[in-house]
């Protein structure tokens, strides 16, 4: 398989300005991660809120500035790309947001919204050609051509998300980044959008980076899973083996905490309850970031940050595993 995105030691930090009596602080949103994305796969990024999954996604499409490290996409390093290079990146990498209604400009018609990326990045294109493309893309995502002059507020959440998907796909990108793209939708609508994404992926040979906190959906749609915690990768591996034999204590706790829609399983299952909450990303713990909540932490976990190692086909960062 061909690598399409190569991420090395990527850091995204945010500075919080200090005051007269307040020192400057830094949020360590993404704190040195390494992974590759391969062509045609769906990679799921999971983790709790504050783990850095959205910061990472926004960093990959230029919405957040990358602090250090590199992210190679088509021989362009996203960390140092200039605006011309970003235009090239955006032609091939597009983003679908969480809140489908907020992501659309209420003063633009559906046609204007969907055509905008094309008009911005290919200004030489003829109006009629743009309109043909808009109609074709609307058909692709299941919107009817007579809805073309309506405004976003006339649509339901599920339909708005279809508009968002159309806007991303009109450039025929290779990579689609979905940041919690179905989380705001109701169950029955969610299933429609998930099926649509899967169909489109097969039809258009898309690579999808799918960010979600819903482990059920991630399992349904992804090939590989990346588990993040406080800006660090805890575990990365093939979907089947991550769900069947999670190695990292955090992955184990996370999976056991997901309620399953089956009372027989729920009644008999042993939930590994974690103590407390996520530590502040302003002051991530010394050593392994998970050590404050890890039931198996040893001395080494408090002093030394574990490196990602290959264990049983998983990339895991943990000291206690052999």
């Amino acid at each position: 398989m061909k690598k399409i995105l190569e991420i090395r030691d990527l850091k995204i930090h945010f500075n919080i300005a200090g005051g007269l009596f307040k020192p400057k602080q830094t949020v360590h949103a993404v704190d040195g991660i390494n992974f590759d994305v391969f062509e045609g796969e769906t990679i799921g990024i999971v983790g709790e809120s504050g783990c850095g999954k959205s910061s990472l996604a926004r960093g990959l499409c230029g919405l957040n500035k990358i602090t250090s490290g590199s992210a190679l996409f088509n021989n362009i390093d996203l960390a140092t790309a200039n605006s011309k290079e970003w235009n090239e990146v955006h032609k091939q990498m597009q983003f679908i947001f969480q809140d489908p209604v907020a992501a659309l400009d209420p003063r633009m018609t559906v046609a204007e919204i969907i055509a905008e990326p094309l008009e911005t990045l290919y200004p030489e294109m003829k109006k009629t050609a743009v309109m043909d493309k808009v109609l074709a893309t609307m058909k692709l995502v299941g919107l009817s051509h007579n809805q073309i002059n309506r405004y976003p507020q006339e649509f339901s959440g599920g339909q708005c998300q279809r508009i968002g998907i159309a806007r991303a796909l009109i450039l025929e990108p290779k990579v689609l980044i979905c940041d919690e793209s179905v989380s705001a939708l109701d169950v029955s609508i969610k299933a429609q959008i998930i099926n649509l994404l899967q169909e489109l992926q097969q039809k258009l040979k898309l690579t999808i980076i799918f960010i979600s906190h819903d482990l059920g959906i991630v399992k349904h749609i992804c090939n590989r899973i990346l588990v993040m915690y406080l800006g660090n990768i805890m575990e990365l591996g093939d979907k089947k083996s991550i769900y069947a034999t999670p190695l990292h204590p955090y992955t184990q706790a996370l999976l056991s905490a997901v309620p399953v829609a089956n009372p027989n399983i729920e009644k008999n299952k042993q939930v590994q309850l974690l103590d407390g909450d996520l530590p502040s990303p302003l002051k991530p713990p010394q050593g392994c970031v998970f050590n404050t909540r890890c039931p198996q932490a040893i001395d080494k976990c408090h002093s030394e940050r574990p490196q990602c190692r290959l264990i049983n086909q998983h990339m895991v960062s943990c000291h206690i595993l052999n």
Partner: protein, 326 residues
């Protein structure tokens, strides 16, 4: 649970309507259900199914353009039409409610201590000192570390999960008979959600209270509840024990809902979808609100829909032959 038991909450033919510019929004339509002592009943449904409005109606907390019809009996006392004064003696005291976002239910200007003691001073006529002591004990019970000092903090100084614990502790102060929880774990992370669900299960035993748990997550229902009410378009579609609903769902909506959830315990090639969208509550169709999306729809669906009993604790509202008509 034996049939002779008296329900602590008896809702009969409850209707909730909102008058808006474009007409009348029928949020809840002809809802009837009972809650027995000590049970946890889940209410599931998508947004707009009326699950939250039902609870707000029986607490008398509807928006000012809302109207409630029907009967809600709590321990034999009628709540619909009760004066605010009398209602205030019941809600917050015998019936307590926790909401999705604890930050919007807590007063950001007041310390937790002030907000907790107020309840005991008002409802139980305790002195401040006694109330404070009792509040600290309750915070300790919901596993807030260092409760003695933390009670003097403001809500923003707690994390999301901690705030929800504070809310739960606050609601338990008066030892209510019924706790209504409206999506209390939806805004929380899964590991924190697991902590809160575990806590609720323990507290139910200890305080011997009934819990109505509103959620859209079937997994949470399977984890926590004894019985489930499935709502759609303001209707109660199906009610059954937790085991029945997952192993033997009868209503086409319940079946479709269960099949459209991707789960971590099994895999499917393609998710089942329910075509179309939820009904517009301004213009509900005659008869069943699900008919436009139902695969088994027939002409009868736009008439009066019968209630049918599949087995003693399993009732379905559908025109198909599913059991004994009631």
């Amino acid at each position: 649970m034996s049939e002779k038991k008296v329900p602590i909450l008896d809702v009969r033919n409850l209707n909730v309507e909102f008058k808006v510019q474009d007409g009348i929004v029928k949020a809840v339509n002809g809802l009837s259900f009972k809650i027995y002592d000590g049970e946890i009943v889940g209410i599931v449904g998508e947004s707009g199914s009326g699950k939250s409005q039902t609870m707000l109606a029986l607490m008398g907390l509807l928006a000012s353009n809302g109207r409630t019809y029907g009967s809600v009996k709590f321990l034999g006392q009628e709540l619909v039409g009760l004066s605010t004064n009398k209602l205030n003696k019941i809600r917050g005291n015998q019936i307590a409610m926790i909401f999705q976002d604890p930050m919007t239910s807590l007063n950001p200007y007041l310390k937790i201590s002030a907000q907790m003691t107020e309840i005991l001073i008002l409802h139980k006529k305790l002195s401040y000192k006694e109330a404070l002591h009792e509040s600290i004990r309750m915070l300790e019970r919901v596993k807030i570390p260092d409760a003695k000092n933390r009670i003097h903090l403001y809500p923003h100084e707690f994390s999301g999960g901690m705030r929800q614990r504070v809310m739960i502790a606050m609601m338990l102060l008066t030892r209510p008979k019924l706790l209504i929880a409206d999506e209390p774990t939806t805004a929380l992370d899964v590991t924190v959600q697991a902590q809160i669900l575990e806590l609720l299960k323990e507290l139910r035993q200890e305080f011997k209270m009934a819990i109505i748990f509103i959620t859209h997550d079937m997994g949470v229902v399977a984890n926590l509840c004894d019985r489930v009410n499935v709502m759609y378009g303001g209707w109660l579609m199906e009610t059954a024990s937790i085991h029945e609903i997952f192993t033997n769902p009868q209503h086409p909506y319940t079946k479709a809902l269960l099949e459209s959830i991707p789960s971590i315990d099994h895999e499917v090639e393609k998710l089942r979808t329910i075509p179309g969208e939820p009904p517009n509550l301004l213009q509900l169709p005659k008869g069943c609100p699900f008919q436009a999306r139902c695969q088994l729809t027939s002409n009868n669906c736009s008439e009066i829909i019968p209630l049918q009993r599949v087995n003693p604790r399993h009732v379905v509202k559908c025109t198909q032959e599913l059991g004994v008509k009631l």
